[in-house]
């Protein structure tokens, strides 16, 4: 029954109008495809001329007149929309003035959508999408990134909240919320990565769990497990009895070709999330929360699991050395988020102890709101509201 309902709902989804672009160079076509997808909320998708419902012509293009004639002679029944800086009234065409406003363009496209019974044939639309090029076809890298974004939602916050026996609102308890990375899978992974990079050859990390294959040349790992499984295993203390089953062994390079490509992931991305899930909002014991640290570089946030407050913490730690307890105080951030962030940054080698830096400078002051604080907050809000 569930399958039936889902497929029925899918069939009722409005299909975007198929739009052929004329009088635009490749760059403008790409821009328009993005515009239709984004601000126009998918009201149209760009397709090849043969598959289109509507022709969209940039009337400011030098040969626009000829293009219009050709379009009308080839497809006399197909609607034509002209875009121009100057108002135009040409028989058999609709007009949208530049700069194009999303509402106006959508209104015109929706008018044609009703005429062309665009609710039908979703399969054709998908096929057409695939033909149109880079704005539609997702590379494996993009697909992987999307999975990462989805994995970010909700689950992580829920996971951090479940740490038993620690009351994060209580300062006395916060300073006890440490963990020893040596007791976790993370430690073995970090050691294995070091050896692999030093020896510059692919190695396999054996454990009581699934083997992890590490490829230093592409800085990738391969693991036959999803994030849920990894998250669960990351938080489990590795009992001393398991130590005998942990080891590194050389990997035959020919294996690489036989591995499922979707299970490869970037080494940094893997280590970062493994550290977060090992930390569970605790700080690593060798980085006590009263010890100042600073960031050597900004983490590459577009490719990493994004923690709450991560950008704020980074902007603070890139300027001055701060103790995690100070960060919690200054940013009014949750201790779990700060500790998880510190753990992840340390695992990627992005953190440095900050005592010396602090000793050399005047004690860091809390950031003071700049002149444009209100404006920047509004921009931030706008970027996050989408």
């Amino acid at each position: 029954m569930k399958v039936y309902v889902e497929s029925t709902v899918a069939n009722l989804q409005p299909v975007p109008l198929k739009v052929a672009l004329h009088g635009m160079d490749a760059r403008s076509q790409k821009t328009m495809a993005l515009y239709l997808k984004g601000p126009c909320r998918g009201a149209g998708i760009v397709v090849e001329d043969a598959d289109a419902d509507v022709n969209l012509i940039d009337a400011d293009f030098p040969a626009a007149g000829e293009i219009l004639q050709t379009c009308q002679s080839r497809h006399p029944d197909r609607p034509v929309v002209l875009l121009s800086l100057q108002p135009l009234q040409i028989n058999g065409t609709d007009f949208v003035q530049k700069p194009v406003n999303a509402e106006r363009l959508m209104a015109v496209l929706n008018k044609f959508k009703a005429l062309t019974s665009a609710l039908s044939q979703p399969q054709n639309a998908v096929e057409a999408k695939e033909k149109t090029g880079d704005e539609v076809i997702k590379t494996p890298e993009q697909a992987k990134k999307r999975v990462l974004y989805e994995g970010n939602e909700g689950g992580y916050a829920r996971f951090l909240g479940l740490l038993p026996g620690v009351e994060f609102n209580n300062l006395e308890q916060i300073v006890k919320a440490g963990f020893d990375p040596k007791l976790y899978y993370l430690n073995y992974v970090l050691s294995a990565c070091k050896v692999t990079c030093r020896e510059n050859r692919a190695l396999q990390l054996r454990s009581i769990w699934k083997p992890l294959l590490i490829f230093p040349d592409t800085r990738q790992v391969w693991l036959d497990a999803d994030d849920k499984q990894l998250r669960a295993f990351a938080g489990v203390e590795q009992a001393k009895g398991f130590a005998a089953s942990i080891g590194l062994s050389p990997l035959d390079e020919s294996v690489r070709g036989s591995l499922a490509p979707e299970k490869f992931q970037a080494l940094e991305v893997f280590v970062w999330k493994l550290a977060i899930w090992t930390s569970k909002g605790r700080f690593p014991l060798f980085l006590p929360p009263e010890q100042p640290v600073y960031l050597k570089h900004w983490p590459n946030f577009t490719r990493l699991l994004l923690l709450p407050d991560a950008l704020r913490i980074s902007s603070l730690l890139i300027r001055d050395a701060r103790a995690p307890l100070e960060i919690i105080d200054i940013l009014e951030a949750k201790p779990q988020h700060v500790f998880a962030f510190i753990s992840a940054c340390h695992s990627l080698g992005l953190l440095e102890p900050g005592e010396r830096r602090r000793a050399q400078s005047v004690a860091a002051q809390p950031p003071v709101a700049g002149k444009k604080h209100g404006l920047l907050s509004k921009i931030l809000h706008r970027l996050r509201a989408v």
């Binding site: 040969a63 406003n101 916050a157 946030f301 577009t302 920047l376 921009i379």
Partner: protein, 187 residues
């Protein structure tokens, strides 16, 4: 009402137009079109050669997004363009012959503006060409005594461009608030 702007710069093909499109509330105005045979009787030419987008903010304010022309022949415009700007987004194409040279060129060209504001660097096409890596860019920047955010960016992805601009904003003002404390962002 005050007008604000963020400047997007970088070499030709680095993704400036696409990045602006990704976060703009209006499509970038293509301003380098010659007059067509349908419009030339009204206006001979419309050649400005600059990408433009806009973000509408609460309270009716707007932030204008300007892309500098990639061609060096237009670099005289850059000083005018950056006047009153909030900050700089530098996009670099990793498939170019020497992206470090590009980076040095643009950082030098916008040196005064960066000193007065901030810069965030997005490296595009890293899925096509993985080297230089982000760490290599950071090494180069260290030699220039700079340490801005450097992210791998797909200019077509709103989230990538949004994060880059957010990092720019935090570089300008680390005291900004806004991230929800209890829930993870939908990136």
């Amino acid at each position: 009402m005050s007008q604000y702007k963020i400047i997007f710069t970088g070499p030709v093909g680095a993704g400036k137009t696409t990045a602006i499109s990704s976060i703009s509330d209006a499509p970038p105005v293509k301003t380098d079109a010659a007059a067509s045979d349908m419009t030339k009787n009204r206006k001979a030419s419309t050649t400005v050669a600059m990408d433009y987008g806009v973000m509408n903010l609460d309270g009716g304010e707007k932030v204008h997004l300007y892309g500098t022309p990639g061609q060096e022949r237009f670099d005289f415009m850059w000083d005018i363009l950056t006047s009153g700007g909030i900050g700089l987004v530098l996009l670099l194409d990793n498939t170019r012959a020497d992206p470090f040279q590009d980076m040095r060129f643009f950082l030098q060209a916008f040196d005064k503006f960066i000193q007065a504001t901030a810069v965030a660097i997005g490296v595009t096409q890293m899925d096509v060409c993985a080297t230089p890596a982000i760490a290599d860019y950071q090494r180069e920047l260290k030699a220039l005594q700079l340490n801005p955010p450097v992210f791998a960016v797909d200019a077509r992805e709103f989230n990538d461009v949004s994060l880059l601009v957010q990092a720019l904003l935090y570089s300008l003002d680390p005291g900004l608030k806004g991230e929800p404390n209890d829930s993870i962002q939908t990136y």
